[in-house]
Amino acid sequence: MALTKAEIAEHLFEQLGVNKKDSKEIVELFFEEIRAALENGEQVKLSGFGNFDIRDKSERPGRNPKTGEDIPITARRVVTFKPGQKLKARVEEADLPKPE
């Protein structure tokens, strides 16, 4: 099952006793302010978790896979996430079962 904003807010209420209205608001602001910083072209560094970086990609040749027609893939700005050492180590050490 996937973790959602509602569950993170519920966790703040249970773990820290933050009331439900505040926990919901804080979770919204957490994701919104990260997105706003990235929208301003700013890198976001959450130590222990990872960094969100902005990368500008230049135009490159592409093709419509259905028609085979050549169409350029326009220049774009994208977000990439680089997990931090601590998160990577925790995931590796968790020793999760191999995928089938």
Binding site: T4, D22, E33, S47, T80, P83, R90
Partner: protein, 96 residues
């Protein structure tokens, strides 16, 4: 923007909550997300993106100093896929 700057910005936008409570909450959000990922659970935040684990199979690596071969076990690495709103807003900033 760093974690402490994020905490300050949120505290400014939501003055009804004390700075120390905002700080504890932001740290707990990050901790909870890390816990979930390390338990193999995905995180799905609509309009922001999803975090999941990608498996990297076992491989033979090399010690860069000695050139010696080393067997590396398979492992999971955290992966982030930006959501639609995130992609659109970030890309729109290119032409601003």
């Amino acid at each position: 923007m760093t974690k402490s700057e994020l905490i300050e910005i949120i505290a400014e936008k939501y003055p009804s909550m004390q700075l120390r409570d905002v700080e504890a909450s932001v740290k707990e959000i990050i901790e909870y997300m890390s816990d979930s990922l390390s338990s193999g659970d995905r995180i799905e935040i609509r309009g922001f993106g999803s975090f999941s684990l990608h498996y990297r199979g076992p491989r033979v690596g090399r010690n860069p100093k000695t050139g010696e071969k080393v067997d590396l076990d398979g492992k999971y690495v955290p992966y982030f896929k930006p959501g639609k709103e995130m992609r659109e807003r970030v890309n729109a900033s290119l032409t601003k």
